[in-house]
Amino acid sequence: MIKGYLNIVLHAHLPYVRHPEHERFFEENWLFEAITECYLPLLGVLERLQKDKVNYRLTLSLSPPLMSMLSDELLQSRYLEHLKGLLELAEKEIARTQNQPELNLLAQFYQNFFAHALDTYQNQYQCDLLRAFKQHHATGQLELITTAATHGFLPLLNVSETAVRNQIKIGIDSFANHFGYPPTGFWLPECGYYPGLEHILADAGITYFFVESHGILDASELPKNGVYAPLNCGNGVAAFGRDPEASQQVWSAEMGYPGDFDYREYYSDIGFELDLDYLAPYILDGQTRINTGIKYHRITGGNQAKALYQPENARAKTYQHAQDFIAKRQQQIATLNAPLNQAPIIVAPYDAELFGHWWFEGPHWLEAVLRLASAPESTIQLSTCSDYLKQQPNPQVALPAASTWGDQGYSSYWINDSNAWIYPLLHKAELELEKLVADVRGLALDPLQSRLINQALRSLLLAQASDWPFIMKSGTSIEYAQKSITDHLARFNYCHDSIRKNKINERYLTALEIMDNIFPDLDFRDYFPLKK
């Protein structure tokens, strides 16, 4: 007997990093590492579940920058080169460790891992991972949704409603361009919600979104079912709250599964351990140490020497942790069932990149969780928000409170001493674009002028990504984040200045279109405020 629902949501997003002006660009590795360690393994999970006819349900949010990069031919070809380099390094490692049997087995493990990635990426998926996800969607078991155009942090863009509306509209349009249909669900970047956002989402055709737990618990009316049922925001759009317990078990640095001693240690990588001369062809500019993805150690306590990684033990542990996760959800549902007036839904959203990249064994854990929850004897039913709303179509009416899933639960991670300087510049550009679009409205523009304003809009969108202030605060790759935002704003200024002075250099415009080729179908004419 089904007593409750579990909705696992993966949010897959990376900032738009694509540099055709350079032969190699270090930050493009973010995408390459995620493809190897997260997206291909996730597809592997879905393939196995499908093959075994497991009746799972899973929600996957794909951000527009990620969709754009996954379908980009330049990045696809660069990824293949990257992967071939890793395969070559793994083969060198097999030779280097031939007298160290335990390490040698691990080197072979990595060679198999990279060879499998290369084979599936190139031969099974023809470098097109979006098509693979779409095929799983077609089975009816994977629900695909999306997020704002460049993952703009909407509570701090809200000085201009046009900017927020544009982020949402272009995000949805981009999804529809890639998949052929509009999404019904929407992932708010960083779960950043403020009252009023539900109207823009409704106008865009969205029926549900997610908020942090306290967005539900601090709603305008006391939620009768806590975070275990959605709220109708008053306009028919449903807000689902993140379950803190399910989140803690995976996310928590202290209590979470990924910190188990049997799992692979992310911070132990041969890129920082072996001779530079040996590593030179596989690191940055032949001289700067970087993570290679070949990691021989497992998480080991305190000051002890790092113990060697044992993949089979780690794999067995994922099953134990999946059993524990399901058992705790069953206990949770049993406890919740009495006081609640309907079967609870537990919403467990995670960054997709946690699974495989930070937590190497995460995809196996996810697979085991989906298998256990789908088993005939399970009292939990896997569900998506769309499924749930079909069964429970009349949620309690209440307006969620402003909230995010960042540290402290509000906006402070995205506006603080490290990054607050970006907002006057972003807001100024937003205002200038709004005015420019209003000024040219009704005018007959030539194709060059239209291309230029569209490129201005692309540059503004890329500057608005929440990743840049996040990186500035987190303290890694700060220079790249600062340069990205100032470069995108400079490109916006260039386009704006050129159109205002009607001095258009097609060569420069073409260069910008080549470098920032995201959102081919956007139309600046949509960038205008709605009359109230």
Binding site: E21, H22, E23, S71, D72, E73, H137, P155, L156, V159, H178, G180, T184, Y194, P195, G196, E212, H214, L217, D218, S220, S247, Q248, W251, E254, D351, S386, P393, A401, A402, W405, G406, D407, Q408, Y410, S411, S412, I415, N416, Y423, P424, K428, A429, P447, T486, A490, N493, Y494, D497, E506, R507, Y508, L509, T510, A511, L512, E513, M515, N517, D521
Partner: protein, 228 residues
């Protein structure tokens, strides 16, 4: 031809037969969504292809990128005075402002005489549509005009209110009778008060320990909380 006619008849008959089936709006939407998803035309995604036939080498791209970054670097404008309020959390706002050169000159002269300090006045009101009026609750924050930004801690009486609150700020000179000569008025910011009774546990996705954000809060921000 005959076969076509027969098919047509069957279809019509079929439609008539099922015309009595009653479907709710919700069921119709569900069927529509399902058909949209399962039978959507397979759209081949097209990447942005520059309309120009201009070919550019990697070096030319780098040079153009560097030139644009250098010549069009983002900068603040001093043509128009502005004040913007942003939400940090239910007990803090972030304000940034820009004053014109004329206003800055005037302020520097006044400050030298210590007559009318530049002040950020924050009004709170229960509805966005209400114009600022003497009945609004307000409080003043002493600021340095040239600093151009400051985090503002809200008075407890406002921050712990259950009611939804709208904030509007004015930056200007304040005289001895608390009258303001405004330089700029801000956007209206909506923020629901944090309800301490619910004691919501604020989680975060990383589970890492909290980081304190040490905005420069000097000079002491809150001068008064007043309802006129």
């Amino acid at each position: 031809m005959r076969l076509d006619n027969e098919l047509s008849m069957i279809t019509v008959s079929h439609l008539k037969q099922h015309a009595k089936v009653t479907l709710s709006q919700q069921e119709l939407r569900a069927i529509s969504d399902q058909i949209n998803q399962d039978f959507a035309p397979n759209i081949a995604f097209k990447a942005l292809q520059p309309a120009s036939t201009t070919r550019l080498s990697s070096k030319e791209l780098r040079d153009i990128s560097a030139e644009i970054s250098r010549e069009f670097a983002p900068a603040h404008s001093t043509e128009v005075a502005e004040l913007v309020l942003l939400p940090i959390d239910p007990t803090h706002l972030y304000a940034y402002w820009q004053l014109t050169d004329t206003q800055m000159t005037r302020l520097s002269e006044n400050t030298a005489e210590d007559k009318t300090p530049v002040t950020l006045r924050i009004y709170s009101k229960p509805s966005e549509s209400l114009e600022l009026n003497p009945h609004n609750v307000w409080f003043d924050v002493a600021i340095h005009a040239e600093q151009s930004h400051q985090a503002v801690q809200l008075p407890d009486a406002i921050a712990t209110s259950n009611a939804a609150i709208f904030y509007t700020g004015v930056i200007g000179e304040r005289d001895a009778e608390d009258h303001m000569t405004p330089f700029a008025q801000s956007n209206t910011l909506h923020y629901a008060g944090d309800n301490p009774n619910r004691q919501t546990q604020k989680t975060n996705k990383t589970g890492l320990s909290s980081v304190q954000y040490l905005f420069n809060q000097t000079p002491s921000p809150i001068i008064s909380v007043t309802s006129l």
